[in-house]
C-alpha cells in the first residue's frame, strides 16, 4: 500500500461489504483479488445486487472465472478503462441513493473511476477503495497538461512534451493524477539519475 506523505496523497483502505441496495465494483486484474477476498466476508446473497466492471488489461482469465463465480447481477469485462468508462458513467447516471461504490486495483484505476463517481455526486469519503498491485502513477505534466499513464520512474519523461518531470506527491482528485514538474528547467542538459520509484 502506498505510504501517506502529503495531505492530497490519497489513502486507501480495505474493501468491506456495506449495507445498500446496489453494489458497484470497478477493478483491474490486481484489484479483482481484493473483490474475491472481500467476498469471503460478505453475507450470503450479497452479490445478487452487484455490478462488477472488470478491466482486464493483460490480466489473467482466472480472475474472470473467480468474479463470475460470485454470481453478480451484472458482469462486464473490458480491455481498458477507456472502454469501460461509458458503461460506468451510464450506471452512475441511472443510479439512486443506496448504490455503494467499491474501487480496487492500481491508483490510476481507482483515481479515474473515483473521478467519474465524484461527478455523479458521490463524496470520495463514501467510496471504498483498496490499492492492489503496481504503484505506477498517472501523472499530469503541469507544463503541457498532458497525462502520462503508468509512470514508474522518478523523474519521468512527459510522453507529450518530452520534459523531464519530478513526479510529486501532490495529487489532484479532479483529474485523478499526480503533478509532474520540470526537474531541470535551469539547464536541460542536466539529467539526474532516473530510478524505479513506483514499481
Amino acid at each position: 500500500m502506498a505510504a501517506k506523505s502529503i495531505i492530497s496523497r490519497p489513502v486507501y483502505g480495505t474493501l468491506s461489504p456495506q449495507l445498500g441496495r446496489h453494489h458497484l465494483f470497478v477493478a483491474d486484474a490486481e484489484g479483482a483479488r481484493a473483490i474475491s477476498d472481500m467476498a469471503a466476508k460478505a453475507p450470503a446473497g450479497f452479490f445478487t445486487d452487484a455490478h462488477i466492471i472488470y478491466i482486464a488489461g493483460s490480466g489473467s482469465e482466472a480472475n474472470v472465472v473467480a468474479l463470475e463465480a460470485l454470481g453478480p447481477a451484472q458482469f462486464y469485462q473490458g480491455p481498458s478503462f477507456a472502454s469501460a468508462l461509458p458503461r460506468l458513467k451510464q450506471t452512475l447516471t441511472n443510479a439512486h441513493m443506496g448504490l455503494r461504490v467499491y474501487l480496487a486495483g492500481t491508483e490510476g484505476l481507482i483515481g479515474q473511476a473515483m473521478q467519474a463517481a465524484l461527478e455523479a455526486g458521490i463524496d470520495h469519503t463514501s467510496m471504498l477503495t483498496e490499492h492492489r498491485g503496481s504503484l505506477a502513477r498517472r501523472m499530469q505534466c503541469v507544463h503541457c497538461k498532458g497525462i502520462t499513464e503508468n509512470v514508474t520512474t522518478q523523474p519521468a519523461a512527459c510522453s507529450h512534451c518530452g520534459l523531464l518531470l519530478l513526479v510529486r506527491d501532490h495529487y489532484s482528485r479532479r483529474i485523478a493524477a499526480f503533478q509532474g514538474v520540470c526537474i531541470n528547467a535551469e539547464d536541460r542538459s542536466e539529467i539526474p539519475p532516473i530510478e524505479e520509484a513506483f514499481p
Binding site: 441513493m97 443506496g98 455526486g121 463524496d123 463514501s126
Partner: protein, 321 residues
C-alpha cells in the same frame, strides 16, 4: 465565556401567535445595527431571566439568512417541560430586552449535494424554514416532507406550500398519512443529502432506514434538541474550582455548574455538539447519559459525561470542571 457563543443584546420586536401551540418571536439588536449573518440550520441560545433562575434554551433561526435586520424563532409550548417554553409564551412581550448568543450552525446544508431531501416532524420544521429560503434563493434543488399531528398544528405548512408548492409534501397523523420512507429514500438521485429534524423517534427511524438502505453516513444530517431531563437531585464536586454543588430536580448539570459561577463551554445544550464534554474524576453511582455525542463504550466506561443533558444517581460524583 462559552465557546462561540458571544452574546448579543436584543429587544423583542414582535410576538406572533402561530397556532394553539406555537408562538413566533422576533428580535432586533438594541443598538439598531444588523445582526450577524447566519446560514440555514443555525440556532441561537436564548437567555431567559426568570426571577432567580436563568434558563438557556437553543432555538433554530427560522427567518431568511438574507435578511439580518431581525432574528426569528418559533417556540412550541411544552406544558410538562421544565418551563423555558412556558416562560417564552407567558412572559416575553414586545419591548422586552433579552440576550441571545451568536448563531451557531450544527445543522448546515452540504452545498456540494446535488439535491437536498428534508424531513421535518412537528416543530422540527423551523431550521428548514431558513434552509429552504437559502436554497430557493440559490436555485438549489430541494424537497421537503413534513409530518404534523393535524392540519391546524402544521406550523407554517401553508406558508411553505405557498412558497414552494409541490416541493413540499405534507403528512397528517390524524388522517393516518405516513411517509413511505423506504420508497422515498430509494428513489433519490445519486448525490442527494438527507436532513432530518423532529422528535427523537423520528430521527432514529430515518437514520436507521437510511443506513440500512445504503446511505453513507456523511450524507445524513440530523438535528435534535433534546431538552435536559428532570430527575432526582444529586451533588457534584468540581475538581478544578473545588466547588461542591447540588443539581436540582429540574436543573441540568450544566445549569447548576453555571449557577455556581463557573462558565463552562457549550454550543447546543442538547447533547449533540460535544462542546460541554467533561472528564469524570471519580464516581460512586449510576450515570444517566442522555446525550448523542459519546459512544456507547464511553458511556459504559463512566469516564466522561455531557453535563448539558446527562444526570447521575448515587453517593458521590467528582468532575474535572
Amino acid at each position: 465565556m462559552s465557546t462561540g457563543t458571544t452574546k448579543l443584546d436584543v429587544v423583542v420586536s414582535d410576538v406572533v401567535p402561530v397556532n394553539d401551540l406555537v408562538t413566533r418571536f422576533h428580535f432586533r439588536r438594541r443598538d439598531g445595527q444588523l445582526l450577524p449573518t447566519f446560514s440555514g440550520g443555525a440556532h441561537v441560545v436564548v437567555e431567559m431571566r426568570d426571577g432567580e433562575r436563568t434558563r438557556l434554551n437553543p432555538y433554530s433561526l427560522m427567518g431568511s439568512p438574507l435578511d439580518t435586520r431581525e432574528y426569528t424563532i418559533s417556540v412550541r409550548r411544552d406544558d410538562v417541560g421544565r418551563g423555558g417554553s412556558l416562560f417564552m409564551h407567558n412572559q416575553v412581550r414586545p419591548g422586552l430586552e433579552m440576550v441571545v448568543s451568536y448563531p451557531v450552525n450544527l445543522f448546515s446544508l452540504d452545498l456540494r449535494a446535488k439535491k437536498h431531501l428534508m424531513l421535518a416532524g412537528g416543530i422540527g420544521i423551523t431550521p428548514f424554514m431558513a434552509q429552504t429560503t437559502q436554497l430557493a434563493a440559490e436555485g438549489g434543488n430541494f424537497e421537503l416532507h413534513y409530518t404534523c399531528r393535524t392540519a391546524s398544528l402544521g406550523t407554517y405548512a401553508d406558508v411553505l406550500r405557498e412558497r414552494y408548492d409541490r416541493r413540499v409534501r405534507l403528512y397528517h397523523d390524524d388522517l393516518g398519512e405516513r411517509i413511505e420512507l423506504d420508497r422515498l429514500l430509494s428513489s433519490q438521485p445519486l448525490g442527494t443529502h438527507l436532513y432530518v429534524c423532529g422528535p427523537a423517534g423520528m430521527i432514529g427511524w430515518v437514520r436507521d432506514r437510511a443506513a440500512a438502505l445504503g446511505w453513507p453516513s456523511e450524507t445524513v444530517h440530523f438535528e435534535h434538541f433534546a431538552a435536559p431531563q428532570p430527575g432526582a437531585p444529586f451533588d457534584v464536586t468540581l475538581a478544578i474550582s473545588g466547588k461542591t454543588i447540588r443539581v436540582g430536580e429540574q436543573q441540568s448539570l450544566l445549569e447548576a455548574i453555571e449557577a455556581a459561577g463557573v462558565d463552562p463551554p457549550y454550543l447546543c445544550r442538547g447533547g449533540v455538539c460535544g462542546q460541554c464534554e467533561t472528564n469524570v474524576i471519580s464516581a460512586d453511582g449510576k450515570f444517566i447519559h442522555n446525550d448523542h455525542w459519546l459512544t456507547e463504550e464511553e458511556h459504559r466506561s463512566g469516564k466522561k459525561i455531557m453535563p448539558c443533558v446527562s444526570r447521575f444517581e448515587g453517593r458521590s460524583l467528582v468532575l474535572e470542571r
